[in-house]
Symmetry: C2
Subunit: 637 residues, 2 copies
């Protein structure tokens, strides 16, 4: 690590007063959290703690994690918006869990109630450590939000049990999770409690992963199973256990597992100072973002493994791109940003956040996508196991990891805006509101006024308690070609002060100093790398951080027949009434004409074309109105 990593400014110290995030956080609080509580109840997940053999609603191996993510989201909300009803709901779940926790601290509902003799027998397939991780994250959030330590204490007891079970000592298991997540959770628990044992355990799981002989073979043998029951090479890579993590060269397998692992590795690196993890993390970053990521920041193109395929394979209509994967990419990018202090991570974080992650939730916060394809045709089937859930958001899923995941991200999204260290205040995301950071022993307040992401003008005011020298590091987004900066009305040369995508303004700041950042955001026609066979000859429209798409409801059928001329003039308009207020892009394009084609499927006569008016909306907001076709990439002429 070049220097000490940055520290995020907590979401509790950042407030939004803007057109974009304020309403979304509010909808998350007033609609999403209550709706998800109802869904957890309806699915039987809240009653799971009282399940007995013979009853319906048998606790599934991943149910703890769904509840945990909702608890975490609720805790974040309680931290900024105290709410008695919500607090009571949370407390009830914690009490229910406390009632079944084992005397030894063990706390997994499925294994406590359904298969008590099979604890820790199938790390590869059964999500036991994954659930533990999510519960840890929830417990930390709950303690920080409410000051109540009951849940945190429960999780410390559970973690102490896990510590005894896993390790390199005699009688201990040298295993690691099949679905990663606990690594980053243990680092959170370490930060919340200061107990280094937890950090050590996180490092243990990271270090053991993928070593030979494979633990998964050993545990399969212990279960009396053929270790080759699963497709081999494929399956180790499926959960990123095909080689020790420091040797990993490309992103493979299940996308969410990969992202959680990498986030955990970054956390371990940041808190242990272990530099040996960094080369792998940087290689994997390139593999992910330079060869295996969609233009929306969505990742994991196929339903077959809920994950990655091969370089430059970026299908549109069949793209899986799980909401959780985009959320997890935000997590990983955020951590890499804090390690490497490079805006390239913030660029991807912003991209995935505004597009591939936010598309996972409806504009009213009540319905969710699991899959986030880049094109939709009403007749086309989904790769997903739950039919009918890929073109219309639904209230819940049989495996409902995504809804509470997007909820916890939105509930804490204010924590992604700024970071600080002793000598500098970093701004990653632009959004109207204010932040209070600790810099050099005093509180510095930063206020942003902006209509971002609909407009790139950002007016900032700094208010240190007393005048002091420090650096204000402002992200100059990678998508912006003509950024301009003024401090107290005086132009600052960005070329002179920009390093790794951040403009570093080091000066003595006094209360009321003004910074004006202008990030012009014309509509851009994006092309994909020539190796991407699915997008060749096509363009996507992007404006600032927002990727656009075309929906049938704004246009017509056969969106694929639109061809956008190279010289097409594209206008931007803010439509305050549409989808909570969005910038739309309009223009004219050519379109193949069905009329007059005839009955034949194929013809040597060229189709006629006509001129049509077209309209694009932000991709993340598609499928909030009348069902129909959608596509991000248009043919270019």
């Amino acid at each position: 690590m070049p220097r000490k990593p940055l520290t995020p400014v907590s979401f509790t110290n950042v407030t939004f007063d803007d057109v974009f995030w304020k309403p979304r956080v509010e909808i998350n609080r007033t609609n999403t959290l209550p709706i998800e509580h109802q869904q957890l109840k309806a699915s039987g997940q809240l009653a799971q703690y009282r399940w007995k053999p013979g009853m319906p609603g048998m606790p599934h191996i991943f149910w703890d994690s769904d509840v945990a993510k909702w608890l975490e989201a609720a805790a974040y909300s309680l931290a900024t918006h105290p709410d008695k009803k919500l607090a009571k709901q949370v407390d009830a779940v914690v009490d229910d869990m406390a009632a079944i926790q084992g005397k030894d601290g063990y706390l997994n509902t499925h294994y406590l109630l359904v298969e008590p003799k099979k604890r820790w027998s199938d790390l590869r397939g059964c999500h036991e450590l994954y659930c533990a991780g999510h519960l840890m994250e929830a417990a930390v959030a709950y303690a920080e939000a409410t000051g109540k330590t009951k849940f945190l204490d429960m999780m410390c007891r559970y973690t102490d049990t896990i510590r005894k079970e896993f390790g390199r000592g005699k009688g201990q298991k040298r295993g690691y999770p099949g679905h990663q997540e606990i690594e980053l959770a243990l680092v959170k628990l370490f930060r919340a409690t200061g107990k280094k044992d937890y950090l050590d355990l996180a490092k243990f799981f990271v270090d053991e992963r993928g070593r030979k002989p494979h633990y998964y073979d050993a545990e399969a043998k212990a279960r009396g199973e053929e270790s080759h029951r699963w497709h081999f090479g494929a399956a180790y890579a499926y959960c990123q256990a095909d080689k020790p993590v420091r040797e990993l060269a490309e992103v493979t397998g299940h996308a969410v597992r990969a992202m959680y692992l990498y986030a955990g590795m970054a956390d371990v690196a940041a808190h242990t100072g272990d530099k040996t993890l960094l080369p792998a993390l940087r290689r994997l970053w390139k593999s992910t973002t330079q060869r295996r990521m969609h233009v929306t920041g969505g990742i994991g193109p196929t339903a077959a493994n809920e994950g990655f395929t091969f370089d430059y394979d970026l299908p549109n209509e069949s793209a899986y791109l799980e909401t959780c994967a985009a959320v997890a990419l935000v997590f990983w990018a955020h951590r890499m940003l804090h390690l490497d202090k490079d805006a390239k991570y913030a660029d991807v974080m912003e991209l995935a956040l505004y597009n591939g992650a936010l598309s996972g939730i409806s504009s009213d916060g009540k319905r969710f996508f699991y899959e986030n394809p880049l094109a939709a045709h009403p007749g086309a089937p989904s790769g997903r196991r739950e039919p009918g859930t890929h073109h219309r958001r639904v209230g819940w899923f049989g495996c409902s990891c995504c809804p509470p995941n997007i909820a916890r991200l939105i509930a804490s999204i204010a924590g992604y805006v700024c970071s600080s260290d002793d000598k500098s205040l970093w701004v990653h995301l632009y959004a109207g509101g204010s932040a209070e950071a600790q810099i050099g022993g005093q509180t510095v307040k930063l206020t942003q006024r902006t209509r971002y992401p609909w407009d790139g003008k950002v007016s900032m005011t700094l208010r240190p308690e007393t005048a002091a020298e420090f650096t204000l590091a402002l992200r100059i987004p990678g998508w912006c070609r003509k950024a301009a900066l003024k401090v107290n009305g005086k132009t600052v040369s960005l070329q002179a002060v920009t390093k790794k995508g951040y403009a570093h303004i080091k000066r003595t700041w006094t209360k009321g100093d003004r910074v004006a950042l202008d990030l012009p955001m014309p509509v851009e026609r994006i092309e994909a790398h020539p190796n991407v066979r699915q997008d060749t000859g096509k363009v996507a429209l992007k404006r600032g951080p927002i990727v656009y798409c075309f929906e049938q409801v704004d246009n017509f059928k056969n969106l694929h027949d639109i061809a956008l001329p190279a010289d097409a003039k594209l206008q931007t308009t803010f439509d305050a009434k549409l989808l909570g207020g969005v910038c739309v892009i309009t223009g004219k394009a050519k379109m193949r004409v069905v009329e007059g084609w005839g009955d034949e499927l194929f013809s040597a006569d060229a189709t006629k074309v006509k001129t049509v008016a077209i309209k694009a909306i932000p991709y993340a907001l598609w499928a909030n109105r009348k069902p129909g076709e959608m596509r991000v990439w248009l043919n270019a002429r």
Copy 2:
């Protein structure tokens, strides 16, 4: 039916002496049939008749059909090329089958040896009637080729058993096959034996299909199973049993089953004179060829059901397009042609034959495709259950229906060239060689000289035994825009004599009369219907009946980045040394340049393009050289 259906001129009365079919039939005889015999031996399928419980190589429910199709192909070959070794191999299989045939005539290896108590218990899923049908076809071919009646007698005994089992009488089953095929086979058996019972049974299976209450529910119940064990609506349509066949409106489900059913329906209509089947057949023809067929004549785009999806859904890289389905489309088209005497059927027959069916076999006749996609990328996975078999032909499959199917088609392909009735001789396919037909009580010999399909000039000579008036009906292919016809050097106005795509030349023909047909075949840029989202903005190259494709081995990587300018000049050259002699298409196109793009996946800077030389080969011949990318549809500029 407007008139009496046509009758094909038997393949035994047609000989090839040409550049295209003669070598293919020869390779089929000398390479394919022996190789397939070896494969059947290696797979255990030839030894199945001696299987006993506990032994490896348990006869699979569809194994009889694979062997039967090989027997049928071998019989066709024996009919034109006597071959002692092959005859001995065939006789050995017939003897083996005779040895296990039940006293009651029953003859299904799996149910005789493996599950003797489960006969006729699962028509829906277990291919029992399907195997019977293929055995009937083989027996008819064998009897006609060799004059030996043993196999035919065996099959008559088996069919008599089937007749007793199925019917509307007391104690009989009102069932019908889950995998159709027996319908058309029974009509063949009827034609070979003259026994109308067999035609009646074919009609019974056709008429019972899809009636409510569903037989499949009844038999499931009888097995003690939930009748809803399979996905309902979907599964009836999967085997075209969702409604009575006369009500079928669109082609659905498993493509091969659909085609065999429709071929059987056409046979029943032709031989019973039942006109009530015709409206459905014509609707289904439109559904198939105007909305659900690839440009190669391949059908059944998805591996999910080995079949159809929805109108205008014609994927390229993931297209399944089973070889058997194209072969079966040839069968159905051939029958519709004989019913309706319309060249539109012959056009599709020719298209599917030269492209989607022939692509199923390698140029050396030794390896086979199950899937016939229209684009291939080395990294892309197959939809097929047997990985690695979609980009490279292989010697055999776990379910190896396609190899013997294409072999029997090629062995009897001469039977698709001409047809006749009392007053007319019809020519459907152009190929150098000669045919002898019975017209008005005498033998008329027709000789064709042509380099078709590489050249559209066809010189024909007619040789009736004595001068006689009859009609020569010549197909004017739908792809041909400027056909020209001369009789004895004198131009005939095609406009005046052409009806439903056939030029009807009615005159008194004398020995040595010459007919010159010129079918110019410039390279054409084919577009797909505007509703086909996968091909919009793209063109395919076609010349005469041949669809072309681009292979990496002739070009370069990233074929998807080629853009063919609207004014690109395309040359045709015959390359005698390439793939047995083929016309290749060459020209220049634009190509996106990878060099200089940089590391990013997406960019707002337009890619640079360069000019490249491109070369296309007939689609059916791809994957005979070095592995790599392939694509039929190119971006158009």
